[in-house]
Point group: C2
Chain length 343, copies 2
Amino acid sequence: MRIALDAMGSDNCPQPEVCGAVEAARKFGDEITLIGPEDKLREILSDTSSESLPVHIIHTTETITMHDKGRQLTLKAKHKDSKTTMAVGMDMLKSGNADVFVTAGNTGGALATAYFRLGMIPGVKRPAITVLFPVKNGRCAVLDIGANPNCKPDHLLQFAIMGSIYANKVLDIQNPRVGLISNGEEAGKGNDLVKDTYPILEASGLNFVGNLEGKEIFGGKADVAVTDGFTGNVVLKTSEAVAKMFTDILRKELMSSMRTKIGAKLAMPAFNNLKKILDPSEVGAAPLLGINGLVFIGHGRSDTQSIVSAIRSARQAVNANLINALNSAIKKRIEFIYDQEEQ
Amino acid sequence: MRIALDAMGSDNCPQPEVCGAVEAARKFGDEITLIGPEDKLREILSDTSSESLPVHIIHTTETITMHDKGRQLTLKAKHKDSKTTMAVGMDMLKSGNADVFVTAGNTGGALATAYFRLGMIPGVKRPAITVLFPVKNGRCAVLDIGANPNCKPDHLLQFAIMGSIYANKVLDIQNPRVGLISNGEEAGKGNDLVKDTYPILEASGLNFVGNLEGKEIFGGKADVAVTDGFTGNVVLKTSEAVAKMFTDILRKELMSSMRTKIGAKLAMPAFNNLKKILDPSEVGAAPLLGINGLVFIGHGRSDTQSIVSAIRSARQAVNANLINALNSAIKKRIEFIYDQEEQ
């Protein structure tokens, strides 16, 4: 298996990427190509005693940063001569020189680059950005969390199909439970989009478990939560912000007296476990669904372990032939619609 | 001042309501009328040595419960002979026998009852449910959190105007900062509704601070956060669910060993402070904005202190003559629109 890795994606790049690549190559035996400035990568690589491992470098100095937006981002994503780490990696996918591309960089940049260089799986109307949320007793794949601020029921149906296939093939969940994010758990609750989508999901043949409020999402009622990119993004940002506020206040309060400081020290294993359960690096990277090629996106805050875990998810998608599975699920669904129309 | 209080609203009713009424009457000297089953209320009241206080009872046995939905709820809310605690309380407002109505009951029920019995402030197109979020260094009033799953820019503008007046008059905030919940803080980010609303808020003369993501809301960037009822409800439910997951995991981890148990015991003051900062009873009740009468809704989980705090907010709204202020702000805005159209 050949994995292409954006060496310049994470907030602390390229250290986590280089060390993660080395550890993953050692662990899984895969061929890993780091994409980024050769000198810098070589320097970190030389400290890792990785001479015998199948870790390669493809040199480029261009990147897509968090500051790239609008026209400039489109140009970097689209132009055939673009040499950003993402463009180079996706071109490797396109030409068959890599099986999967992994990045911890700008999600919008990855989506745009993927859209222009790899295109869509035939029949898919909109690509979706997926993230894994830590929930009670596991994880929940939420999509779309930002690619499509305005959606139609058709789009949400395709997200549900793709999310279900992904949960099954990559997260190893039998018959994944699919829910619809809404402002009430009962059927009939929702805005127009949700109300129109509900009966379509109910009739879809998927394991549809109905509407999801926050307590159902985080209570682990579904393996896949489907929503438009605006709402999904608001859910993501809200949960991150609440978790941060909670942690900030707790930390401040624990440091406010000698007694609580000692208590905090003793209780440290509990805090560490809490952190581990809610840690993005433990939750893993997730794919851009609908793109005609395997692109996995990890958290910007990724450390070495997050990169290894992102590579683990990515290779599982390759092994499960995720793109083929998505392709035939979407095709089958289109045939199903044609059948219905003919009747 | 005459305050009408739904005695059967909170999860543990009527204990918190009766004790809260007594404490508030003692504290503020206001006349408080408890609405609910007289025997039950009288029994609790008799333990409070409140004979000399202006606490009255109006007897009714009907209530709106969490199970009331759809047609049944509408009937209870609308029918002229309805004797639910909410109908009785709002009829008191309507007939001038009370200045404000306070309930910790079913929000949808309160909204429906208010809508049918009190009507709207002239010119207001949609009523909005407001909640106060605990945020860094204070509170943020978020509206709408559920009355209107589908909104238009006009509605959001009115929410912004009403939220701003409320924050100024009741929360005592000079020139309240108003933001728009979106999937990105930059102007230009958003779904169609947000993109269409942004320039209207920018030109509104309000202290508009732009788009808000989770980190801006909980970071305290705005005093008022405006959104459609679907998104607002999702934000509310997501934050409650994340906070609950956080607390549940932390509690479980702290109880997992003798060492962490001792640590937790020592750190208890910090946990108590955290709880206090995030406690709904400390954050307070909020009004139904746009309704032609003062209706304040507190949390279902209200205890005695929450009821006292809800009454405190309610009486401040009466003192500030909130309905008049809303009335003239909406009227002024309508005149402003007419002026523009004439030009």
